[in-house]
């Protein structure tokens, strides 16, 4: 049979935010006129969906809607430090900072409302653009609440930073606390190997990842799907080559990337084991999503055709070479037995 299928498993772990150093991020929040909100923090979208995630966090914490939230530009002269867009740190570091700043801004507004309505501040709820005191008839749109606060001389503001309790590594034995939040995951891959050409198609990936708490499940799926396909690129086809330092793959005609016809069906399962330290319970997903894919696929190739790929990428040539070597080994042992 020319085509053989197989399955493989791999697990992973990963640390959230910067490694073996103290990480930190700052944010400012303001409940603005008309019941809108302004969040200013040193971050811009790199594609992962962080602007939407921060708007969701701010909206829920303040009691407005995500579309009411404006996120200021990432600008070292105009916004507080939130450091870099990487290390699977944005939702964890900046999300938590935005939550804390939002709580402070909300508290300023609630204090005005409590005095105005003559109720205990703890009975006041804010959600989706409304503020009300539980067990009473007191209720007003957030826009009116902001107007009221301003008429009392209060601009509802908050600012906060979120930092990690982490350490460097001992230079001799490596001991230390590199992260305060860890995530774990596992993926299963199903492949089809063409034994005549050595070509590997990945038909399905089942991906389970702990993200702490998913702020936007569809966005988490997007990170998992994208990470898996990037990993497949490295696993099966991508190969930056140089000869005496000169690139021989200097363009997208020579440097081959996965296209729509190369990708598997991905089934994502989101696990939520909340981070016990941060105020939101969130962790992260960007980088860990990639890690189990390659070994799961290589193990699946072994399951399908009995060829162990230990050097990446698993090009058709390499897989075919393995199939031929295996066949000649089997033939040699048959002949020895005879």
């Amino acid at each position: 049979m020319a085509k053989r299928r197989g399955r493989g498993v791999a697990a992973c772990w990963y640390g959230i935010a910067r490694t073996a150093t103290v990480d930190r991020a700052g944010a400012w929040a303001e409940i603005d006129d008309g019941g809108t909100a302004k969040i200013v923090t040193g971050v811009t979208e790199i594609g992962e969906g962080i602007l939407t995630v921060l708007a969701q966090i701010a909206a829920q914490e303040l009691g407005v809607r995500p579309q009411d939230v404006t996120i200021g530009d990432n600008d070292t002269a105009r916004s507080p430090e939130a450091a870099h867009a990487g290390a699977t740190r944005q939702t964890y570091m900046i999300g938590n900072a935005v939550a804390l700043a939002s709580r402070q801004a909300r508290a300023a507004l609630v204090e005005v409302l409590a005095k105005h309505w003559g109720v205990d501040g703890r009975s006041i709820k804010t959600a989706a653009g409304e503020a009300w005191a539980e067990g009473t008839n007191h209720k007003m749109p957030m826009g009116d609440a902001v107007h009221l606060a301003k008429s009392r001389g209060v601009v509802p503001l908050g600012s906060a930073s979120f930092g990690t309790d982490t350490t460097g590594l001992d230079p001799v034995d490596g001991s230390g606390r590199p992260w305060q939040a860890y995530v774990f995951g596992c993926q299963v891959a199903e492949v089809e190997v063409d034994t005549l050409t050595g070509e590997v198609q990945v038909l399905g990936i089942w991906a389970v990842h702990d993200v702490g708490r998913a702020v936007n499940p569809r966005g988490v799926e997007g990170q998992i799907e994208g990470g898996i396909v990037q990993a497949l690129g490295q696993g099966l086809m991508e190969d930056y080559r140089t000869v005496n330092g000169h690139a021989t793959t200097p363009n997208l005609a020579k440097y081959i990337l996965p296209t729509s016809l190369d990708v598997p069906h991905v089934t994502s399962v989101i696990l939520e084991d909340p981070d016990p330290i941060g105020p939101l319970g969130v962790k992260g997903i960007g980088e860990p999503a990639m890690i189990p894919t390659i070994p799961a696929v290589m193990n699946a190739i072994y399951d399908a055709v009995g060829v162990r790929i230990t050097s990446l990428p698993a090009t058709p040539e390499k897989v075919l070479e393995g199939i031929i070597a295996k066949a000649s080994r089997a033939k040699a042992s048959r002949m020895a037995a005879e």
């Binding site: 299928r5 197989g6 498993v9 791999a10 697990a11 992973c12 772990w13 640390g15 073996a20 040193g42 811009t44 594609g47 939407t52 708007a55 969701q56 966090i57 829920q60 809607r65 995500p66 579309q67 600008d75 002269a77 430090e81 990487g86 804010t126 001799v172 490596g174 590199p178 596992c186 198609q201 038909l203 399905g204 991906a207 389970v208 702990d210 708490r213 702020v215 997007g222 799907e225 990470g227 990037q230 930056y240 140089t242 005496n244 330092g245 000169h246 200097p250 363009n251 440097y255 990337l257 729509s260 016809l261 990708v263 598997p264 089934t267 399962v269 960007g286 890690i291 399951d303 990446l312």
Partner: protein, 627 residues
């Protein structure tokens, strides 16, 4: 050559313009007409980001001479949203979460529009086929297929228009809800401006002269002929750096432009700015650099040997960083084992291939603040470094992070922002630099290639007693993120398993290859590839199911990591259980049993791709039904 006259209809408007004869349709649309929704990703017809309709035919505008636009009707992504209202397909991209960085998305939306125009009833496999000429690096394509299917069904009346709308969250519980991405409308419509789309009055264009040598001493640089050229407004070299030159994520070993010697092919040596990008490029040829080639080293193992050519004075052994992890006594651990398995693993250098090539715009503002706008992943650190390099206080350096068209770690290095700052300071004019795809691939950091020797000892019942892991990585010519990559690789190398005796060493090494740097999963991808493949080999030898061998060794709540940190909560066994269940895994040892297993080909797999296009005949429905 004289200008060409172009009269055409673009997005329903008649235009009549003279254009430079060398322009591509892409340049004419973007630079002359300001339709920057059409993006340049590769300039060679490979990626599809520049897709437009010319007389109704989907074309890659980087391959079409502008003169060919004469007399045609052109639609760009900006023309799809009529009167500002997104098309059904654009709304479906918004709803399905089909855009991430967004840089490929205008081209993807055009290709998807073409797919549904060709066959309004296209199935998922046909949709994949029709999007095959467009590369997306973020999404993994799945949400894009979902979006096209959603648009198809809404257009055909099989799903209601409300399927495109935001789901209501009246209770205000937005955390945990699938809120539509707030930035998606700007991405699907082409409205979002990336750095390479931005212009300022009196802006100059910069071009960069790069090293043709992997390792060479720079004897002299003569820029006088370039500076004398009409139209050249500024030329810079390392001599223009006023402060302490040097940048890098961990060690500041890289000069803004080569200083004294070049260490890899493509390293920046000098730069020219002109109002005309062509003049800037031509001026590069007038810069005379005399090199004296030096012995070079292209292999990490060779670079570690004594007597190998040294790249940096501070590191005569070419070692960027060594990270050790030690737990217990591995000699005892191996002595206690029943089985020892050894193997060697290697991984290759990999390019980030974000669809947005590096680009930036710099200017000195009215208060003398040196301002750099670029898709930098780390503006905080960049401003610290640039402040020292240009000898200005921190508050006279301003970094603005423009929308990032894909990063994956590749935009953490300050590889070009320093040159932009120097040129803006020298010319006192705004300066823009946009990399070609080739510059982006050849000159910026890659994923570290690695070679890992692995030794694992286990008992008969599958408990790991000891691991010894040595990983050597080629860091290339500059340090960039190598130190951090080695650290993360080492900490996570032995996997999420409780192992009493661990010895891990990771080494990052300088060579004269393209530098390696930060890349999504940062060293942990390389080291865990080795561990997770190795576990499969061990499971086979012990006759254990691959889930089982992982469960036997899994860290659990309260576990101590290999860096001796106690973890309160460990979700690994939950993840293993969930994956086993989701995939309907048939238990058994990994003995190459693909031909006999019964769990293949079910839900969660796609059909296998076979030779030949999966296109249905376009007239599959009466014409009256065609959208």
């Amino acid at each position: 050559m004289p200008d060409v006259r172009i009269e055409a209809t673009i997005n329903g408007r008649r235009i009549a313009r003279n254009a430079k004869p060398h322009l591509r349709l892409l340049d004419f649309l973007r630079d002359d007409l300001g339709h920057t929704g059409t993006k340049e990703g590769c300039g060679a017809g490979e990626c599809g980001t520049c897709s437009v309709f010319v007389d109704g035919v989907l074309l890659k505008s980087c391959l079409v001479p502008a003169a060919k636009a004469q007399g045609t009707t052109i639609e760009t992504v900006e023309g799809l949203a009529k009167a500002g209202e997104l098309s059904v397909l654009q709304q479906a991209f918004h709803k399905a979460g089909a855009s991430q960085c967004g840089y490929c998305i205008p081209g993807m939306v055009m290709a998807a529009t073409a797919a549904l125009r060709a066959n309004p009833f296209a199935g998922r496999e046909e949709i994949k086929e029709r999007l095959g000429g467009n590369i997306c690096r973020c999404t993994g394509y799945q949400k894009i297929f979902d979006a096209v299917e959603l648009a198809r069904d809404v257009t055909n009346g099989r799903r209601p228009a409300s399927a495109l709308a935001e789901e209501d969250q009246a209770d205000g519980a937005f955390i945990g809800a699938n809120v539509r991405r707030l930035d998606a409308p700007s991405k699907v419509s082409g409205a979002l401006k990336y750095a390479g789309d931005m212009v300022m009055p009196h802006m100059l264009h910069m071009a960069v002269l790069r090293s043709p040598h992997a390792h060479a001493r720079i004897v002299s640089i003569d820029t006088s002929q370039a500076e004398a050229m009409a139209g050249v407004e500024g030329v810079i070299t390392c001599a223009d750096v006023p402060g302490v030159d040097g940048f890098g994520v961990f060690v500041h070993d890289q000069p803004i432009m080569a200083r004294g010697k070049v260490r890899y092919v493509g390293e920046q040596v000098a730069a020219v700015a002109s109002e005309d990008p062509l003049i800037a490029r031509r001026a590069l040829a007038k810069i005379k650099v005399v090199y004296e080639p030096l012995p070079a080293v292209f292999d990490a193992h060779e670079a570690m040997k004594s007597g190998a050519p040294a790249l940096h004075e501070y590191a005569p052994d070419n070692l960027v960083k060594h990270i050790p992890i030690r737990v217990g006594d591995i000699a005892k651990g191996f002595a206690d084992s029943d089985l020892i398995v050894e193997e060697t693993y290697s991984t290759q250098q990999v390019e980030h291939a974000y669809l947005e090539p590096e680009a930036g715009l710099a200017y000195v503002d009215h208060d003398g603040v040196v301002t750099i706008l670029s898709p930098s992943q780390n503006i905080t650190h960049h401003r610290h470094m640039l402040s020292r390099i240009i000898a200005q206080p921190i508050n006279k350096v301003r970094f603005i992070m423009s929308p990032v068209g894909g990063g994956f770690g590749g935009k953490e290095d300050m590889v070009y922002q320093g040159m932009l700052a120097l040129m803006a300071m020298k010319t006192r004019r705004p300066v823009r630099l946009v990399f070609t795809r080739e510059e982006s691939i050849i000159t910026t950091a890659k994923r570290h290639p690695s070679r890992t020797t692995y030794k694992m000892g286990l008992t008969r019942d599958g408990r790991i007693t000891a691991v010894e892991i040595t990983m050597i990585s080629d860091g290339g010519a500059y340090g960039m993120s190598t130190e951090g990559v080695m650290r993360k690789a080492a900490i996570l190398a032995a996997g999420p398993y409780a192992i009493p005796n661990v010895k891990v060493d990771t080494y990052g090494v300088y060579t004269n290859n393209t530098p390696s740097g930060a890349f999504r999963s940062f060293g942990a991808l390389q080291s865990q590839f080795a561990t997770e493949t190795h576990l499969d080999i061990c499971a086979e030898k012990l006759g254990l199911d691959p889930f089982e061998i992982r469960r036997i060794n899994a860290m659990r709540d309260g576990a101590t990591t290999h860096t001796k940190q106690t973890l309160k909560s460990v979700s690994l066994t939950r993840a293993l259980d969930a994956a086993e269940k989701a995939a309907r895994w048939e238990a058994g040892a990994p003995i190459s049993r693909g031909t006999t297993r019964s769990d293949l080909g079910g839900e969660g797999t796609r059909p296998s791709c076979t030779l030949g296009a999966r296109l249905a005949p376009s007239a599959t429905r009466p014409k009256s039904e065609v959208a």
